[in-house]
Each structure stands twice: as structure tokens, then as C-alpha cells.
């Protein structure tokens, strides 16, 4: 069969800070047949978005297509004139960006933007294009298809915008659509709906697609073939089943491999709880965020608080740490109530609860060396100084599996995983009884995240520290939790030991959440959609994503 897109030995360069051009894509080749979907997968910096844009003959500001060949049905796009490229873009190849919220122009109505390419290129009259857009709005299950397009981008939700962007790419009836992480910014329960809608639409319309993501389980639902990329080079390429079932390269195996971190659930000791949140209501100004939340943590155990954005899980951490005094209810440590506000708490009370953040980049002062960052805690709480402090910092660094010499480094000289380890060392320095981990692995690449989780588990065994683990990632929860708290819109919908929560019967929301997490299995999406449809047909309560 004739190839739709053929990329040969493509090199792309980016302008470095020193003013020199550096290769970020180092000779990648790929091909795509009509009406097929190719998945491009890799971690940040793999060059996958850059390659996706090259399919439109486009390089971002500060980047350039250095050499190679990009052929669309035999036509060379590399070095083509801008007139020639304009006839391709928005006609034969369209693009769906990661953040539709930023990619739509805030000054114009959705309709005007959605039909623009088709009308400007003379493919359709405005009337025809509008009708086509309405048909596609309906197909992508957008609300009120007839009037949806009259709204402005800021008037609709993130999930709806992402679907509207897909419609925008489909209206001109292109041969190829490039999807660049179209669901990454969405909550997991919204993601599955957008995913299903996109897949149905491209299949029905017979369009080819390049689907770019960092999530292998996700791309396995969308693509016929998958190309794994790393550091601007191809690792391997093959049919989706083959990549998942028989990966040839170690790197791919690591991506496919189920998490190696697996902790058996610890039985409850039945002792007095260490940290207790009792019937807490909290609000930001006049906006209520938490409603009657109660959570309980025993010494040496891990409670995972799960929820999507807006569930109030991070607010819970702010209440516990005293950053946000609750409206009602109280937080108890070791049976004694903690003063609601940080300012009223004693130094020792502060010491016993430590926090590790999601973004290690902003959690470390860039102007302080690691020795100062970790050592300050020792000086502050225990009055340790001088050589003794240095020794203790080095011991803590070894504890988190970093070389002692890192004490003399600035955060900018560390990788993301190393920074997160420094943050953990800083928390440990206070010899806490509770560490609140707020999405600590979500900014890290999968393998690095796994290593950090293993470290946390080892530290728990050695020091007996309790973790309150806040996350939206159910895989992490399965890996490390003893107890699970499921939150939705500021309320706890279900809580209990891991084994109980993860096995049926579930609360409808827990069910929605659990079944929405992509699994590393071809056909998972079909299975979930089928199951949901069957249960609905049987008249069971099936919750749907709110998609606000």
C-alpha cells in the first residue's frame, strides 16, 4: 500500500543557551499508511512533539529542521516554500495541541475558529463548514451541538475544549491528524471519554493519525503501530501487540513492565491513631472546599488519599499542616488536638509532621546548597552545627541513596529525581512521625518515580514513619498504600484498607475512577466501554465524569 507519510533520517536542531545549535532529533525515520494510527511514545525530551510538528513541515521558534526528508504522498515537505506548506497545513494535515485552553484564540467564538481552515482554504463554504462542525460536535458528544460553537473558549470546560480542538482538526477532512498529548491535561475520568470520542471519530472518518503521549497504556488503545523514542532516537518500532507483549529493548521492557514496587498491605495494629482528622470543614475565603472530612493514620502505615483535581485532597494537606485553619473540626496528633493555625503550633509539633512536594524544582531554594537546605532543619530543631551537622547531612544523603558529595551542590546541578531525594532527606532530617507526600512522583518519569517509591517504602521500614500519600495516580496507590481514602468534590466517598477498597463492590465513584485508569493491555478501552454500556443497559448505577 502506498505510504501516506514517509519521514527519512530526520534531524532537528534547537538553539541552545550558548547560542549553538544542538540536535534534539537525531535521525528518525517513520512511515504511516492511510487510515492507520501511529503512536509516538517517550519521556520528556524524547523529541516526540518535535517530530509530530515536522509532519506539518513545522519547527517551533528556536528550532529548525536540519536535514532529512518528510514526504506526504510522495511530496517533499522538507525545505518546501511557505506557500506550499500553507496548502498542506490545515488541509491535508491538521494538529491537535496538548493544551486546547491555550491553543484556542480567546478573542473569537469556537465556531469561527473551528471552520476557519476549511473556509480559508476554499474547501467548504462557511455554511457547509458550520454544518460539518455541528455534525462533528455531536459525534464527539459535545453538549448542545447546534449552539456549542457560539461560545467563547473560556466559556467551556477543558475536556470539551479538547474535543472541540479535535473537531477543528477534522472539519477540513484531512488525510492525517497529529494529536500531541491531547488528554494529558485532563482528569483520568474525563480522559477516557475524550479518548473514546477521538478514536471513534478518526476510525469512522477514515483518517490517519499520529498519536503522541508519554503513557504507553494509553497509546496502546489508540494506535496500530507504536514507535518508542528516547533522547531523539528511535528505540524500537512495531505493531502495538508486539511492543506490549514482546518488547525487544530493555527500555521498552521497563515501560511495559508492571510496576515492580508492590507492598503487601500491613494489618491494622488496632492501636491509637497517630494522626486524626476529625469532621473538618474548610474554605478558601467564601468558597467551601472540604465538607466533614475525617481521616485517620496509624503509626508506621500509609494512607493514600485519592481524588481528581478539585477533590480537595491538597486542601486536606494544608489543613493538617496548619496553613489553612479549618472552619470546623480538628486535627489531632497522638491524641492531642493540634492548634488550628501554623502560627500557634509549637516547634516540636511542627517538627513531627513534614511535607514533601510535587515539584522538587520549586521546593528547593535555588540559592542554597544541599548542605544548607538539609542542614538548616538540623540546626533549627536540634541545634546541630559545624562538623557534626555536616556529618549528619552526609548520613541523610546516603540514607536517600545520594552521594555524600552532593552536599556541596546547588539544586540546579541535580536531576529531577535527585532533587526529590533531597526533599525527602530534608523531611527526614526533622525525624518526623508523619510525612505528607503531595503527588511526589507525578512530576517524575516512570522509572525515576518507581525508584523514589521504593526508597520511601524502605525508609518506612527503617524508621517507622507514617505516610499520608496524596495522589491522583491509582497505580501509585496500589503500589504503596495500606489504607485508601477516596475523595470527590471535597467529601470522602469511601475509605478503608486497600484490599477492601480495590475489590468489588465499589462505591460508584471509586468504580468510575478505577475503571478509568488505562491498563497496559490491547483492547482495554473497548472492554471498559463495553462493560459500562452493559451495566447501564442492566439499569445499574453508573457514574459519569462531571467534565466541568
Amino acid at each position: 500500500m502506498a505510504m501516506l507519510l514517509e519521514i527519512r533520517d530526520l534531524h532537528i536542531e534547537a538553539l541552545g543557551e550558548d547560542g549553538r545549535w544542538q540536535e534534539i532529533v537525531k535521525g528518525v525515520s517513520l512511515e504511516l499508511e492511510p487510515a492507520r494510527v501511529l503512536g509516538l511514545i517517550g519521556e520528556s525530551g524524547a523529541g516526540k512533539s518535535t517530530i509530530g510538528l515536522a509532519a506539518l513541515g513545522y519547527a517551533r521558534h528556536g528550532c529548525r529542521l536540519a536535514r532529512g526528508s518528510i514526504r506526504l504522498e510522495g511530496e517533499e515537505l522538507f525545505g518546501a516554500t511557505s506557500e506550499k506548506l500553507r496548502e498542506i497545513r490545515g488541509v491535508r494535515v491538521c494538529y491537535v495541541a496538548q493544551s486546547a485552553a491555550a491553543a484556542f484564540n480567546p478573542a473569537h467564538r469556537l465556531d469561527d475558529q473551528v471552520i476557519e481552515a476549511a473556509v480559508q482554504h476554499g474547501i467548504m463554504s462557511p455554511g457547509e463548514a458550520r454544518a460539518e462542525a455541528r455534525r462533528l460536535y455531536a459525534k464527539l458528544k459535545l453538549p448542545d451541538p447546534a449552539t456549542f460553537g457560539r461560545r467563547y473558549p473560556h466559556q467551556v470546560s477543558g475536556g470539551q475544549l479538547q474535543r472541540a480542538m479535535t473537531v477543528m482538526a477534522m472539519v477540513p477532512r484531512p488525510d492525517l491528524i497529529v494529536f500531541d498529548e491531547p488528554t494529558t491535561a485532563l482528569d483520568v475520568t474525563t480522559q477516557i471519554e475524550v479518548l473514546a470520542a477521538i478514536r471513534e471519530a478518526i476510525t469512522d472518518e477514515g483518517m490517519a493519525a499520529i498519536y503522541i503521549t508519554h503513557d504507553l497504556a494509553l497509546v496502546a488503545q489508540m494506535a496500530h503501530r507504536i514507535m518508542v523514542l528516547r533522547h531523539g532516537l528511535e528505540v524500537e518500532v512495531g505493531p502495538t501487540e508486539r511492543i506490549l507483549e514482546a518488547p525487544r529493548e530493555d527500555y521498552t521492557r521497563a515501560l511495559v513492565g508492571v510496576r515492580r514496587v508492590q507492598k503487601p498491605e500491613k494489618p491494622r495494629s488496632g492501636g491509637a491513631p497517630l494522626l486524626e482528622v476529625r469532621h473538618v470543614d474548610a474554605a478558601y475565603g467564601a468558597v467551601p472546599v472540604l465538607f466533614d472530612v475525617s481521616v485517620c493514620l496509624e503509626a508506621g502505615r500509609t494512607v493514600a488519599v485519592v481524588g481528581e483535581s478539585g477533590s480537595g485532597k491538597s486542601t486536606l494537606a494544608r489543613v493538617i499542616t496548619g496553613l489553612l485553619p479549618p472552619r470546623k473540626g480538628e486535627v489531632r496528633l497522638d491524641g492531642r488536638p493540634l492548634p488550628p493555625s501554623l502560627k500557634e503550633r509549637a516547634k516540636d509539633q511542627l517538627r513531627r509532621i513534614q511535607l514533601v512536594y510535587q515539584m522538587p524544582d520549586v521546593a528547593l531554594n535555588p540559592r542554597q546548597k544541599v548542605e544548607e537546605i538539609v542542614g538548616r532543619v538540623l540546626t533549627f530543631y536540634f541545634g546541630t552545627n559545624g562538623a557534626e551537622r555536616r556529618r549528619e547531612v552526609e548520613r541523610l544523603l546516603e540514607e536517600v541513596e545520594l552521594p555524600a558529595g552532593f552536599a556541596d551542590r546547588y539544586p540546579a546541578e541535580l536531576s529531577g529525581g535527585q532533587k526529590q531525594r533531597v526533599c525527602i532527606a530534608r523531611a527526614l532530617a526533622a525525624r518526623p512521625e508523619v510525612i505528607i507526600c503531595d503527588e511526589v512522583t507525578s512530576a517524575l518519569d516512570v522509572q525515576v518515580a518507581d525508584a523514589v517509591l521504593r526508597l520511601l517504602l524502605r525508609l518506612q521500614e527503617e524508621t517507622g514513619v507514617a505516610y499520608l500519600f496524596i495522589t491522583h495516580d491509582l497505580a501509585t496507590v496500589k503500589a504503596i498504600a495500606d489504607d485508601i481514602v477516596v475523595m470527590l468534590e471535597g467529601r470522602v466517598v469511601e475509605q478503608g484498607p486497600k484490599s477492601e477498597i480495590l475489590s468489588p463492590p465499589h462505591h460508584p465513584y471509586t468504580d468510575l475512577l478505577l475503571s478509568s485508569v488505562p491498563e497496559m493491555e490491547v483492547g482495554w478501552l473497548d472492554r471498559v466501554l463495553r462493560e459500562r454500556a452493559e451495566r447501564k443497559a442492566r439499569g445499574e448505577a453508573v457514574m459519569e465524569a462531571a467534565d466541568r
Binding site: E17, D18, G19, T321, G322, L323, L342, R345, K347, L350, Q354, L355, Y357, M359, D361, V362, A363, L364, N365, P366, R367, Q368, R376, V377, F380, Y381, A412, R426, A430
Partner: protein, 269 residues
């Protein structure tokens, strides 16, 4: 990032001016107000830049003026930074009503054009050096406040500041050890800009006859004194005016580079 040639030019200009301000009065061939010749004598070996409207040596007056004009502007800038940064950090770190009151007050002060406010005050106060420094510093500190508050706000929301708060650190530690070191690069550039402003502002006041008073030499005043020479085809007032312009251009060249550097450094982080 390596400095461009224009930046080196900027640094060289600043170095020459600083040297002139420091040792100018010592090496000046004549006294500040010493009458040594005729009115508006042409350039000569005795008077390399000629003489002024009262027959005083232009070069000597330029050298004396350097220390006065630059000195007053620098003092005003330092004072405005002390006021502006203290209040700006206070507003950002403490927040709440302290921030609201300070910000509102500064906004109102900034609603009045600087020159007009200075003119109103100078209508009743004598234009002594101390008064000039105070007036310029107070007016200028509003801009410093705005910037210091804005950059400190950016840092205050960072998690590492929250870490320090959660640890129980005092306000002093948070301001001086956590926030301040992370806000210096943009403020260094701002210091250059504010100095230029103070320097131009002082020169303008002197040019209007309301700044440093004669017979003390001051570049803005020298332009005013010799303005009539222009109509005789003598470019004499252009000499002190050019002296003013060259310094501000030099500082701006360096500031531009510093701003670019700190913005790329932030993007790189």
C-alpha cells in the same frame, strides 16, 4: 551568555564617569566657580572645553559637576531602594491588610506625575541637596516598591518558602535567607534604571533652575546657564547635556544585558 561589545562599551562609560566623580575635583585644573577668562572662549590648550557664560573653565566645572550630580543621584537611588525594598518585601511576605494599605498608598502617590509633585514640593521647600535627595528618593521608591513586591510575590508562593514557614522560621529568616537572594538579579537591573531616572530627574530639575543651586557646578544647571550660547551658533550647552546622555546610555546598555541575562537564567532553571 557572553557580553556583547555594546555591554563592554557600557561598562567602560560607567568606569570613566565613576572615576570622574571620585577624583574629578582633585584633578580639575581650576576651581568650581573660579572666573578664569572671557565669556564663551573657544577650545584652547588652557581651556580644553572653552569657558562658560561667566568665563569659568568648562572642563573644571564638568569635573566638579560629576561628583555633585552623580553623587546626589546615587544617594537618592540608594535611599529609594532602602525605602522601596523594605516596604515591598514587607507587603509581599506579610501580605493581608499590610499589603493592601501599602499598595493603595503607593498607587495613589504614583497617580501624580513625578515632576509635578516635585515642583509642588519645591515651591515651598528650599532646593538644598538634602531636600533634593529626599524628594527624588521618596518619589522613586514607589517604583522600587512595585518591583520589589512583584518579584518577592513570585518567590513567596514557591514551595521552598512554604517549607520554611512550616518549619516555624521567623520573618527575618524568610525575608533575608529565602526570598531576598532569589529576587536580586531583577533588582540589580532595576537599580541601574532607577539611577538613570534619578540622574535625569535631578538634571531636569537643575535645568529648570530648581535643582542644585549656583554657583555649585551641576550638569543640568550648566545647560541652563549656557543655553543662550546656542543662538550665537556655539554648541556649548550641548557639552554638559551630552555628558548626561552618555552616562545614561552607558547604564542602559548594561541594564539591558543584565535584564536579558536574568530572564534567560530563569527560563533555564
Amino acid at each position: 551568555m557572553r557580553p556583547r561589545p555594546s555591554v563592554l562599551v557600557g561598562f567602560a562609560i560607567i568606569a570613566v564617569y565613576v572615576a570622574a566623580a571620585v577624583i574629578g575635583p582633585l584633578v580639575s585644573p581650576y576651581g568650581e566657580a573660579e572666573v578664569v577668562g572671557d565669556v564663551w572662549e573657544p577650545f584652547s590648550a588652557a581651556h580644553p572645553l572653552g569657558t562658560d557664560n561667566l568665563g569659568r573653565d568648562m572642563l573644571s566645572r564638568l569635573l566638579w559637576g560629576a561628583s555633585r550630580t552623580i553623587g546626589v543621584a546615587l544617594a537618592a537611588t540608594l535611599l529609594s531602594f532602602t525605602i522601596g525594598m523594605t516596604l515591598g518585601y514587607l507587603a509581599a511576605v506579610v501580605g493581608g491588610w499590610v499589603d493592601m494599605v501599602l499598595s493603595r498608598a503607593i498607587d495613589t502617590l504614583m497617580a501624580i506625575p513625578t515632576l509635578i509633585f516635585a515642583l509642588v514640593v519645591l515651591a515651598v521647600l528650599p532646593p538644598s541637596v538634602v531636600i533634593l535627595i529626599l524628594v527624588i528618593a521618596v518619589l522613586d521608591s514607589t517604583r522600587v516598591f512595585r518591583l520589589a513586591r512583584a518579584v518577592a510575590m513570585d518567590v513567596v508562593v514557591m514551595d521552598f518558602v512554604e517549607v520554611a514557614r512550616l518549619r516555624g522560621e521567623r520573618l527575618g529568616w524568610i525575608v533575608f535567607r529565602e526570598v531576598l537572594p532569589n529576587t536580586l538579579p531583577p533588582l540589580i537591573a532595576e537599580f541601574g534604571l532607577r539611577f538613570c531616572f534619578a540622574f535625569l530627574f535631578l538634571s531636569s530639575l537643575s535645568f529648570l533652575g530648581l535643582g542644585i543651586q549656583p554657583p555649585a557646578a551641576d550638569w543640568g544647571g550648566m545647560v541652563r546657564d549656557n543655553a543662550n550660547a546656542i543662538s550665537f551658533g556655539l554648541p556649548i550647552p550641548l557639552i554638559p547635556a551630552a555628558a548626561i546622555a552618555v552616562l545614561t546610555i552607558g547604564v542602559n546598555l548594561v541594564v539591558d544585558w543584565q535584564l536579558e541575562r536574568s530572564s534567560t537564567a530563569r527560563r533555564g532553571a
